[in-house]
Symmetry: C2
Subunit: 301 residues, 2 copies
């Protein structure tokens, strides 16, 4: 596959990269060695691959090639090299800055976004003041399914909740791409389904479960997507996500803290005991995660 034809002085560089099933094989001829890794663990694998003991050539070049050929977004990485190459020229990388509005309700969606890292929250609201998070998007998904579905205007609010980067693409380019590329359509269709499930389950969860459980669920979902045990987050922000008073967040967080599940001080939140946090969270977390995992399984082929 792809751009390994680079004349980059790869005396010791991989000569061929072939995608087989869900894994990617890299063959580094001079050493006669090769590496296989699961694209689901791309980051991990790259680190491994770049360990000096294994490879002794220019790490940055290799990394760049990797990033070009296998984007760290599940939707894009599920595409075969042909599909992705066609998209590639339309994509640009942009930073996701905390608190930035990606979409405002009613606004024309100029771009769609495929996060590589960071998190974007999808919010619904009643009477402008009271907001509620209905969905979370990380590198497993995209923001802009409205565009994919043929609607110009965003219907809900999309907000950067955790810093990172994303590919973005003009809406028109996406629509054109979708029109011609069955594979792309199929992958995004599956994602849309997964998102609907997430929204539905979250709705029931918000109705039935108490704040502390929901906070636990939210933290777990965030951690899954941030792949970090620590993040900065204000109570005010959390209150908008969970749809409760800020004071209630304060109380719920104190509850989790007293059980040593998290430590939370002035916006610096870190998860201390993931296992027990899962117990505190309602089953909804598992339900959503299962669907999410199934979706990843189905979309990787």
């Amino acid at each position: 596959m792809s751009g390994f034809s680079e004349k980059t002085s790869f005396a010791k560089a991989p000569e061929t990269v072939a995608k087989t099933g869900i894994s990617v094989m890299i063959k580094a001829v001079p050493q006669g060695s090769f590496f296989i890794f699961d694209i689901r663990h791309l980051e991990l694998s790259i680190k491994h691959l770049l360990m000096p003991s294994a490879v002794n050539h220019d790490a940055t070049v290799l990394r760049r090639i990797f990033q070009m050929s296998i984007p760290n977004n599940r939707l894009l990485s599920a595409l075969d090299s042909g599909s992705f190459r066609k998209l590639h020229s339309k994509l640009e990388t942009v930073p996701l800055e905390f608190g930035k509005d990606i979409y405002q309700p009613g606004e024309i969606s100029t771009f769609v976004y495929f996060p590589e890292s960071g998190i974007i929250s999808l919010l619904s609201s009643v009477e402008t003041d009271s907001t509620l998070e209905v969905g979370i998007v990380g590198n497993e998904g995209m923001v802009g399914i409205g565009v994919f579905l043929g609607v110009e205007k965003a219907n809900n609010h999309a907000l950067v909740q955790g810093e990172g980067t994303a590919f973005r693409m003009r809406s028109a380019d996406l629509q054109a791409a979708v029109e011609n590329d069955n594979q792309l359509r199929r992958v995004i269709n599956l994602y849309v389904h997964s998102l609907i499930t997430q929204i539905s389950q979250t709705a029931a969860c918000n109705r039935y479960h108490d704040i502390e459980s929901r906070l636990a669920r939210w933290l777990l979902m965030t951690q899954d997507r941030m792949r970090s045990d620590e993040f900065r987050i204000t109570q005010e922000f959390l209150s908008n996500m969970l749809g409760v008073r800020r004071e209630a967040v304060s109380k719920a967080a104190a509850g989790l803290q007293s059980n040593r599940l998290i430590s939370y001080s002035r916006g610096n939140l870190s998860i201390l005991n993931r296992k027990d946090l899962e117990k505190t969270a309602c089953r909804c977390y598992r339900v959503i995660k299962k669907d999410y995992d199934d979706f990843l399984k189905e979309s990787a082929f």
Copy 2:
């Protein structure tokens, strides 16, 4: 609606049926006259058309032509005649019986359904006992978007909430049709978007608004789809829809009744004052309805 004059008689059945915009033109050649009516009032119009005083030929033939050419489901009727004819052989009409499960979560979806009348509720649940309605489907939509999106198993519970009839179609047939028919795909895509909006807005509504407002909203949405002022519905059932105790439904209904907005006795519910009921309902009703109307506008072309 419109130019249906009583005096005009159909010596013969309409010779051509042409769709223009959102209206349908029927040309009855012998008289050189034609009729235009809004497909939104199709049922009404057909009844009117088939009044003995107006028509003196074989009513069943005419009715069949109508049903073949303009199904009373917005998704199907948005298709041009070519698209629809291709689907037609795959469709069969089935009754929607009250209380029947269309989908159970986790179950393989054998069929998809395009209601012509009646209502199907989409339910989400936590721990089997506590359910919550996340979406309502009437003749504006379909049940089985999971199939459309490429997923075999249903993710949520779909339940007949109001009797009626629906077209149904094998899932495989839908998938094949979607693959080849851009127009069909486009229409259902728009519907999926509309449904996502509905689910999201409902989620926020359930979080923020009190039971009486939500009950009012629910009744309005149901009335829109049943096109009837009266329906049978138990408190137990309503409690599952709104995700509250049955007793709470009793209280909320009593509230509406004391203001003479509805009359409700032992399952027989009738809406007395729609206007004021809309005032009691939260703004969510309007928001959802607006999106729903916009969707209908966009999908009719």
